[in-house]
């Protein structure tokens, strides 16, 4: 067990345990803050995999964007914080079938996939290559996504004006 493994299991534990609490806790603000730790753990695993740019984007988009939006929504909505959310189980049989099916698919995918293994080496920074790929090979997709986001922004602004 090297340091690498130790850090991986630490981040994996943070991610899984906090994700579990996101679903089971009864307080909606607590859920939102457990989500913070889930995002953080995932970002840590990205760093371990050598995907430094994706890790920081994960922080920017999920922690700095979506989570803050979520918290704003929760905190500005009147009396939502006092609502007791039901976290019990209803209709166990259909749920169990659904979960079992999904677990089966995931397990099959995990076992059957021909995983590509490479020797672990010191990861090099991905920013430069990623930037070149985005602007050369995937330029059209990249620009289209930008326009899509711009449309969403303009739509939000015009709705807010009414």
């Amino acid at each position: 067990m090297t340091i690498y493994d130790l850090i991986f299991y630490l981040f994996a534990a943070i991610t899984v345990i906090s994700a579990f609490f996101v679903v089971t806790t009864r307080n909606i603000v607590y859920s939102a803050y457990y989500l913070l730790f889930t995002f953080f753990g995932v970002a840590g695993i990205y760093v371990l995999l050598g995907a430094d740019f994706i890790a920081v984007v994960q922080l920017v988009v999920y922690v700095g964007g979506i989570l803050i939006l979520l918290l704003f929504g929760v905190m500005l909505t009147n009396r939502i914080t006092n609502v007791q959310i039901k976290t019990g189980t209803i209709k166990i049989a259909p749920a169990a079938i659904g979960v079992a099916l999904f677990a089966g698919i995931l397990g099959a995918a995990l076992l059957k996939t021909n995983w590509k293994t490479i020797n672990s080496e010191i990861p090099i920074s991905t920013t430069h290559t990623l930037g070149l790929l985005l602007i050369q090979q995937y330029a059209v997709v990249f620009e289209l996504l930008g326009i899509l986001l711009l449309i969403a922004l303009i739509g939000a602004a015009s709705m807010a004006r009414k």
Binding site: V29, V56, L59, V63, I68, M75, L76, T127
Partner: protein
């Protein structure tokens, strides 16, 4: 470089990494916060024709230490209606967010916490943690003033991140790197190689760029003021309206934690501005170590220049705080969305065109 030194000394990567991680906190931020709090009180006093703290030590320079001793002995009050776990975690989360930024800040060519290739992008990203922490503090306090302060603060930080990022993108476009260490190294030589004076490459483009670089610097400086909640953008803790915003309910060392985070943040944004526009740790006039041929003197001189530049911008922040009145909420949002962001965009396009030349 310091990491290699500690690694040789202790023979363990873990110990070396921990020491490397704690170094900026104990060697830099704590002494800086103690000094900056005293400086703030002195600056404010002299601007208002007072003397400020004078009793403890020469011109009151030990006043902050006395205050810390006092805060350490204070009772840690948690009101019964507070949300206890979140109330306790919030000061830590805010401080972690502002301390994480120091990982990517190059103090000198010999010391940078982690020579990240993402540098300034990482600093922008971890400031999201500060917002989450402030919201947590405001909500857990279960106090209307606290919640309002936290909301205002979060809205303000998120809005003013946009002009900051636009200016950072401008610099990244010209230099082609996000790494603050590389950025500082590029601006080596004398002060005419700094980005504010058009960068290191000599040519017509350099001189064309100067006015736009100055505009960029003014924009990033204004928005960094808003990001650390300083006057004229201090409506999150406007004393006359909100008691003191999101840390109204906090007492003792938890309050001190918010204070420490605020001062650490002040230096972090000043350091980023210095590294982007003012040559980072590079000396404006050449090195004494080069002149008399002592190589090990250079990193120490660089640390001095970096601290000097950072402290100067912190001083300007204080100067502005005691000079300008506070903006109203609508003025604050108008300043960001109607003025700073459009100007930053136009600036970005113009500098892009100049770079293409």
């Amino acid at each position: 470089m310091t990491y290699d030194f500690f690694y040789k000394l202790f023979g363990s990567q873990v110990v070396a990494a921990i020491i490397q991680g704690l170094l900026p906190l104990f060697v830099f931020i704590l002494p800086f916060a103690v000094f900056a709090v005293w400086l703030e009180r002195k600056v404010s006093a002299h601007m208002q024709d007072r003397l400020g703290p004078m009793r403890v030590g020469w011109h009151g320079w030990l006043q902050t230490i006395a205050d810390i001793l006092k805060l350490l002995q204070k009772e840690d009050i948690i009101a019964s209606e507070n949300d206890k776990p979140l109330f306790n975690i919030a000061p830590l989360l805010v401080f972690i967010g502002s301390y994480a930024a120091f990982a990517a800040i190059p103090f000198s060519s010999a010391f940078i916490g982690s020579n990240l290739d993402l540098g300034v992008f990482f600093i922008v990203a971890v400031s999201g943690l500060v917002v989450a922490g402030i919201l947590m503090a405001g909500w857990a306090s279960n106090n209307k003033y606290s919640l309002l302060g936290a909301m205002r603060s979060a809205a303000q930080i998120i809005s003013y991140e946009i002009p900051t990022i636009l200016v950072i993108v401008t610099i990244v476009m010209v230099t082609g790197t996000l790494n603050l260490n590389t950025l500082s190294e590029m601006q080596t030589g004398h002060f005419w190689n700094w980005m504010i004076l058009g960068g290191p490459t000599l040519g017509v483009a350099k001189f064309l760029m100067i006015p736009f670089m100055i505009i960029g610097f003014v924009i990033i400086y204004i928005s960094s003021l808003a990001e650390v909640n300083r006057t004229p953008f201090d409506i999150p803790e406007a004393e006359s309206e909100l008691v003191s915003g999101y840390h109204t309910e906090y007492s003792g060392m938890k309050f001190a934690m918010f204070f420490l985070a605020e001062y650490a943040n002040m230096f972090a944004v000043s350091a980023v501005v210095a590294a982007l526009f003012f040559g980072g740790y590079q000396s404006p006039i050449g090195y004494l170590g080069n002149l008399i041929g002592i190589k090990w003197l250079i990193p120490i001189e660089q640390l001095f220049w970096f601290t000097a530049k950072g402290l100067f911008f912190v001083f300007v922040q204080m100067w502005l705080r005691w000079t300008l009145p506070r903006l109203r909420v609508d003025q604050l949002m108008a300043a960001c969305w109607k003025y700073l962001i459009p100007i930053a965009f136009v600036n970005l396009i113009i500098i892009g065109l100049i770079t293409l030349m």
